[in-house]
C-alpha cells in the first residue's frame, strides 16, 4: 500500500490543479463570456478579466471579493458591477486599509480591514488634500503613513476611473440614452452652426446635444481601458478608443459605433436585471469581433484561460504540501514520505513550468521581464536544482530545498504582483528579446543557484545545532552539494554579469558603469569566487563553507532587491518600499543563522558525541 501512496497523492493533486479547466455552463448573466472580451490597456491587448483581477488585486490585495452573505464573487462580476451599477458597487467593502494613522485621518474604526467607497466618501477632500502635498515628496523620503495614504489615493483614482469606463455617471438606461443621443445629433449640429453664425437657433436642441457631449467628454477624460475597436481592423492598433472618445466622434459620422451600442445594451440589460438581453448583446458583439479582430479575441481568450487556471497559485499549494511531507520524512526517516514529496514537487514543477511557458507565450518574451517574473523564474530554477540533488543524494534534502524555494518565491511573486499588471510592456531599452533571453536569464540563474547553496547551508546549521540528525555522511554530502552549487552559481553569475556589460556596451556604449545593479551582480561573482578560492586554499572546512554560503544569501538578496531600493542608476525601476522591511528581516535572519553556526561545537547537538564531525 505504502508503495502506491506517493503516486495516488500526486494524481489527486494533479486532478485538483487542472479541475478549474472544467467549468459548468453559465446560467443567468454570462459574466465569464463578458470577461473574455478583448480591450487595450497599458499598451497591450487583454481581456476584461485581467483588468478586473489586476485592479482588484491593487485595491483589495486579492483577486476575488466576498459579499456580506459570504458568497465569493469573481473579479469580473465585481468589475461589471463597478462599471455598470456603480451606485451598488460603492457599498462593497473593497478598499484595504491597514495603517492606523490613515484610518485615524479618515475617522474610520480599526478592525474590518476592508472599507467601501461610501465609507470613504466623506473624507475624499481630505485624502485629496493630503495627496497633493505628499505628491511633491520624493518616493524614498515618504513616511509609512504617506506611502499608505498614496496607495489608498491611487486605489481610489483607479476605482473612480473604472466607474466611468463604460457609462456616464448618472445614466440608467444607456441603450435608450444612446438612441436619444443619435436623434439629437442632426438638430443639435444645426443649432450649433446657426448659433455660431449668429442666427436664430433651436435652444432645446442645442442644450440637449451639448449636454450629451459634455457627459461623454467626462467619460473620454477618465475612462481607463480602450474598449472600442477601430471601425476597421487594418487601422493601427493605437486606434482603439475608450467609449467616451468613441461617442464624441459620433456627430462626425451621424452614427453610433456598433461596439458602443452593444456595450450600451449590456449596461441596460444588467441594470434592468435582464440576463437574456445581456447575454444576447455579449454574443452579438463576439460575432461582430470575430470577423474583424480574431487575433485580439484569441489573445484575450488565452489570457483568460491562463488566469483561470492560476498555475502559480496551484504550484505553490502543492509545494507547501511537499515541504511538509519532506520535513516529516526527516523526522521518522520513512522513504514513502520522501518519495511522496518528490513526486509532488515534480507535479508542482510541471505546473510551474506550464505557467512559465504560457506566460512567455502570452507576452512573446523570454521568462524574465520584471521583478515579478524574476521571482517566478528563480523559484523554477531552484526547484530543478533541488530535484537534481534529491535524485543524486536521495536523503530528502533536495526535496526540502526544492519545495521551500518553490513556495517562498511564489509568495514573493504574489506580493510583487500587487503593484499592478505583471505583463506590462517593456521600455525601449529593454525591448530586446535576445538580451532578455541571455543576460537576464543567466544572471537570474546565478541568483537562483546562490540561494540554493545558501539554503543548503542553513539546513546544515539548523540540523547540526538543533537536532541529532546531521550524521557524518549527511554533513559530507551537504558539503559536496554546497560546493557543487557554488561552482554552478559562479558560472552563471559571471557569464550573466559580463553579458549584461556587453548589452550595456551595445545599448549605450559602455561596458561597465558601476551602476548599483551591476555592482550587485559583481558582488555575487566576487563572493562566489572568494568561497571557491578559500575552499581550494584549505582556509576553511565544512562549517566555514556553510557560513560563507549563508552570507551568499545576504549578498544575493541585496543584489536582487536591495540595490533597487537605493533609487539611483539605470536599473531603479523596481522600487518597492514594503519589500525593504522584508529584506531587512531576511538579512537579520541570516545573520542570526551565522551566529548560531559560530556556536562552539559542544553546543551542536549532532556533534555532541561525535566530535570528529566538526571541523572549522
Amino acid at each position: 500500500m505504502k508503495k502506491w501512496i506517493p503516486l495516488i497523492l500526486a494524481a489527486i493533486m494533479a486532478v485538483w490543479a487542472f479541475s478549474s479547466l472544467y467549468q459548468p455552463a453559465e446560467t443567468g448573466f454570462h459574466t465569464r463570456e463578458f470577461g473574455r472580451l478583448p480591450l487595450l490597456q497599458d499598451g497591450r491587448f487583454q481581456p476584461f478579466d485581467s483588468v478586473a483581477r489586476n485592479s482588484l488585486l491593487q485595491i483589495r490585495t486579492k483577486q476575488t471579493l466576498e459579499t456580506d452573505s459570504n458568497a465569493t464573487l469573481s473579479a469580473t462580476i465585481w468589475l461589471i458591477g463597478v462599471m455598470m451599477s456603480p451606485e451598488q458597487a460603492d457599498n462593497q467593502k473593497i478598499f484595504r486599509i491597514d495603517n492606523g494613522e490613515v484610518l485615524d485621518l479618515l475617522k474610520l474604526p480599526e478592525g474590518p480591514k476592508y472599507y467601501s467607497f461610501n465609507d470613504l466618501r466623506p473624507s475624499l477632500d481630505e485624502i485629496q488634500k493630503q495627496a497633493d502635498r505628499i505628491d511633491s515628496v520624493d518616493d524614498s523620503k515618504r513616511t509609512v503613513f504617506e506611502t499608505q495614504l498614496m496607495k489608498l489615493y491611487d486605489s481610489l483614482s483607479l476605482y473612480q476611473r473604472l466607474k466611468l469606463s463604460l457609462k456616464p455617471q448618472d445614466t440608467d438606461d444607456f441603450a435608450a440614452e444612446l438612441n436619444a443621443f443619435r436623434n439629437s445629433i442632426v438638430p443639435g449640429l444645426a443649432a450649433v452652426e446657426a448659433r455660431s453664425a449668429g442666427q436664430k437657433f433651436d435652444q432645446n436642441a442645442f442644450v440637449t446635444f451639448i449636454s450629451f457631449m459634455d457627459k461623454y467628454q467626462a467619460v473620454a477624460n477618465y475612462a481607463l481601458p480602450n474598449i472600442i475597436p477601430p471601425s476597421d481592423a487594418s487601422l493601427p492598433r493605437d486606434d482603439w478608443e475608450n467609449i467616451g472618445t468613441n461617442l464624441m466622434q459620433a456627430p462626425r459620422t451621424g452614427e453610433i459605433s456598433q461596439p458602443a451600442q452593444y456595450y450600451a445594451a449590456m449596461v441596460s440589460a444588467w441594470r434592468g436585471d435582464n440576463p437574456a438581453d445581456f447575454n444576447q448583446a455579449v454574443a452579438q458583439y463576439k460575432v461582430w469581433l470575430a470577423d474583424r479582430f480574431a487575433p485580439q479575441v484569441c489573445k484575450a481568450r488565452q489570457e483568460f484561460i491562463f488566469s483561470t487556471i492560476q498555475p502559480f497559485y496551484k504550484a505553490m499549494v502543492i509545494y507547501v504540501l511537499a515541504l511538509v511531507l519532506a520535513l516529516c520524512s526527516w523526522v521518522n526517516m520513512s522513504d514513502w514520505l520522501r518519495r511522496s514529496a518528490f513526486y509532488l514537487i515534480i507535479l508542482a514543477w510541471v505546473i510551474h513550468t506550464f505557467g512559465l511557458v504560457f506566460r512567455m507565450y502570452l507576452e512573446g518574451r523570454p521568462p524574465v521581464t520584471n521583478l515579478y517574473s524574476s521571482a517566478i523564474f528563480i523559484g523554477w530554477a531552484a526547484v530543478i536544482l533541488g530535484l537534481v540533488l534529491e535524485k543524486i543524494f536521495r536523503d530528502g534534502i533536495g526535496c526540502v530545498v526544492a519545495s521551500f524555494a518553490g513556495f517562498v518565491t511564489q509568495i514573493i511573486a504574489h506580493n510583487l504582483a500587487l503593484s499592478g499588471d505583471t505583463m506590462e510592456m517593456m521600455r525601449a531599452v529593454l525591448d530586446t528579446n535576445f538580451w532578455l533571453a541571455t543576460h537576464v536569464v543567466t544572471v537570474t540563474l546565478g541568483y537562483s543557484s546562490t540561494f540554493v547553496a545558501g539554503f543548503l547551508a542553513i539546513i546544515y546549521v539548523l540540523r547540526g545545532v538543533f537536532t541529532k540528525t546531521l550524521d557524518e555522511e549527511t554533513a559530507k554530502s551537504l558539503g559536496r552539494m554546497v560546493y557543487g552549487i557554488v561552482c554552478f552559481a559562479t558560472l552563471f553569475s559571471f557569464v550573466g554579469t559580463v553579458l549584461g556589460g556587453i548589452w550595456a556596451d551595445q545599448s549605450w556604449g559602455r561596458f561597465w558603469g558601476w551602476d548599483p545593479k551591476e555592482n550587485g551582480a559583481l558582488l555575487i561573482v566576487l563572493w562566489n569566487a572568494a568561497i571557491l578560492h578559500a575552499r581550494w586554499g584549505g582556509f576553511m572546512r565544512e562549517r566555514g563553507l556553510m557560513i560563507m554560503a549563508v552570507i551568499g544569501n545576504i549578498v544575493t538578496s541585496w543584489s536582487w532587491f536591495g540595490v533597487n531600493m537605493l533609487g539611483i542608476g539605470l536599473h531603479s525601476y523596481g522600487f518597492t518600499r514594503a519589500a525593504f522591511c522584508w529584506l531587512l528581516l531576511f538579512v537579520a535572519s541570516q545573520v542570526a543563522i551565522i551566529l548560531i553556526a559560530l556556536a562552539p561545537q559542544k553546543l551542536w547537538r549532532s556533534f555532541h558525541q561525535n566530535t570528529s564531525g566538526l571541523t572549522a
Binding site: 490597456q41 499598451g43 557543487g484 556587453i502 572568494a530
Partner: protein
C-alpha cells in the same frame, strides 16, 4: 627576500583577501552613490588607488581602504604570479587556464578602456549637419580669429588649464598660448556657476568687463557629482600683452554666442564651450522618431535616421540608429541616447573605445573555462555516485 615576496604575490590567501576586500569595496561604493552621486562615487571608489578619509574639511586626507585600481592591479599580479608558480600545462588545468586568461583579459581591457575611451555627445536638430561631437563634462576656451571669414583660425585651451591658471594669479604671469598674438589672465574661474540678469541673494555683480555679460550677476555653485548633472562654468578672461591689460570679458557656458573683440586691428571671438572632438566625416539628422505604447507613457522606441558623409572616400549613406542598435563607424560608435522635448532633435552618444571587444572574448574564455572545469569534476562524481 625575493622568494618571500614572490610567494606572497602568488598566494591563494592574497586572492581570497582581494576578493573579499573587493566585495566590501563594491558594497561600500554602491552605498556611497546615494550621497556622492554616481559620478563622484565612481571616481573616489573604483577609479582610484585608495579611498581617502578627510577628518577635517580642507585638512589632511588619510588613505583608509584600497580603491578599485589598487585591488585590480594586485589581483592581476597575483593571478600572473600564481600561474608562474603553480601551473604546469596539462589537460586537468586547461579550464583554470581559460578562466584566468579571461579574467586577465577583462581586467586589462577595463583598465585600457578607462585610459583610452572617450565619451561625447552629438546633438543634432532635424536637418542639421555637424562634423564634431561635444564632451559632456569638459569645456574649453576657444578663441577664433575671424578677420578673414574664409579662413578662421581657432585656438583652444582646456578648462583644466584655466582652473590651474587662477592659482597663478598671485605671481601675475599671464598665460601665453602659441598661435595667439596676445596673452591673457584668468581673473576668476567658477567651475560651476549660475548667472542672472537681476540682482538675487548670493549673487555678485560683474563689473569692469566689456561686451556681453557686463552688469550680469553671478555666483559660484558647488561642483556637480550626479551622473545626469553637469557643471556650467563661467570665467572672466583679461586680454593682456606685455603687462598691458586691454579689456576683460565674461565667458560662460550659459552663453550661446561668443564674446567679440578686436586686438591690433584683428577681430576675435572668444567662448567657453564644451570641448569639441572633430571627426573626419559629417553626420546629419534626417528624421527622429519617438513612440510610446498606446494609452501609456512607456517609451516603445527611439530612432534617428542619419546621413553619414565622408569626403575622404566619398562615402554617403543613410543609417538608422535606434535603441540597442548603434552605428559603428571609423572607430566611433553612435548610440541613441536622448532627444529634445519637442521630438525635433536627437542626442547621440559618441564613444571611442579601442578595447571594446575585450569583454566579448573574456566572457567566452571564462564561460568555456568554467564549464570545462566543472564538468571535469562533476562527471566522475556522478559516475561514482550513480554506480554505488
Amino acid at each position: 627576500m625575493f622568494n618571500k615576496l614572490f610567494n606572497l604575490c602568488s598566494s591563494l590567501r592574497l586572492t581570497v583577501a582581494c576578493l573579499v576586500l573587493g566585495c566590501v569595496l563594491v558594497f561600500w561604493g554602491t552605498l556611497a552613490q546615494v550621497h556622492l552621486g554616481l559620478y563622484k562615487a565612481q571616481n573616489e571608489f573604483f577609479r582610484s588607488f585608495f579611498i581617502f578619509w578627510q577628518p577635517v574639511e580642507g585638512g589632511m586626507k588619510i588613505p583608509v581602504f584600497p580603491g578599485g585600481y589598487f585591488l585590480g592591479t594586485v589581483l592581476l599580479i597575483n593571478l600572473l604570479a600564481a600561474h608562474l608558480r603553480f601551473y604546469k600545462p596539462g589537460k586537468r588545468k586547461i579550464g583554470i587556464m581559460f578562466i584566468h586568461l579571461g579574467v586577465v583579459l577583462l581586467l586589462v581591457g577595463q583598465m585600457l578602456t578607462d585610459a583610452l575611451s572617450r565619451e561625447s555627445a552629438l546633438h543634432l536638430r532635424i536637418g542639421q549637419t555637424q562634423n564634431y561631437s561635444e564632451a559632456q563634462r569638459d569645456y574649453e576656451l576657444a578663441i577664433t580669429d575671424t578677420t578673414d571669414r574664409k579662413l578662421e583660425k581657432v585656438v583652444t585651451v582646456p578648462w583644466t588649464l584655466l582652473i590651474q591658471h587662477v592659482g597663478w594669479v598671485g605671481s601675475d604671469r599671464p598665460l601665453a598660448v602659441s598661435g595667439l598674438p596676445f596673452a591673457f589672465h584668468t581673473r576668476t574661474f567658477y567651475a560651476n556657476s549660475d548667472l542672472s540678469e537681476k540682482p538675487a541673494a548670493g549673487f555678485e555683480q560683474i563689473s569692469n568687463t566689456s561686451g556681453l555679460g557686463n552688469g550680469f550677476y553671478w555666483r559660484e555653485l558647488p561642483r556637480e557629482t550626479a551622473m545626469d548633472h553637469v557643471d556650467t562654468p563661467s570665467a572672466i578672461i583679461e586680454i593682456n600683452n606685455a603687462g598691458q591689460a586691454s579689456g576683460a570679458y565674461l565667458v560662460s557656458a550659459w552663453f550661446n554666442q561668443p564674446q567679440r573683440f578686436s586686438y591690433n586691428g584683428r577681430n576675435y571671438e572668444m567662448a567657453l564651450r564644451p570641448t569639441r572632438y572633430y571627426m573626419p566625416f559629417s553626420v546629419s539628422l534626417l528624421e527622429f522618431h519617438h513612440d510610446d505604447y498606446p494609452g501609456t507613457d512607456i517609451p516603445r522606441n527611439f530612432s534617428s535616421r542619419v546621413r553619414v558623409q565622408n569626403p575622404q572616400n566619398k562615402e554617403d549613406r543613410e543609417v538608422l540608429i535606434y535603441m540597442n542598435n548603434p552605428l559603428r563607424y571609423s572607430g566611433l560608435t553612435f548610440y541613441q541616447a536622448s532627444y529634445d522635448p519637442d521630438d525635433n532633435g536627437s542626442i547621440l552618444q559618441v564613444v571611442r573605445n579601442p578595447s571594446w571587444l575585450t569583454p566579448y572574448f573574456s566572457c567566452l574564455l571564462v564561460g568555456v573555462g568554467l564549464v570545462v572545469q566543472f564538468l571535469q569534476h562533476l562527471i566522475p562524481f556522478l559516475k561514482r555516485r550513480l554506480a554505488s
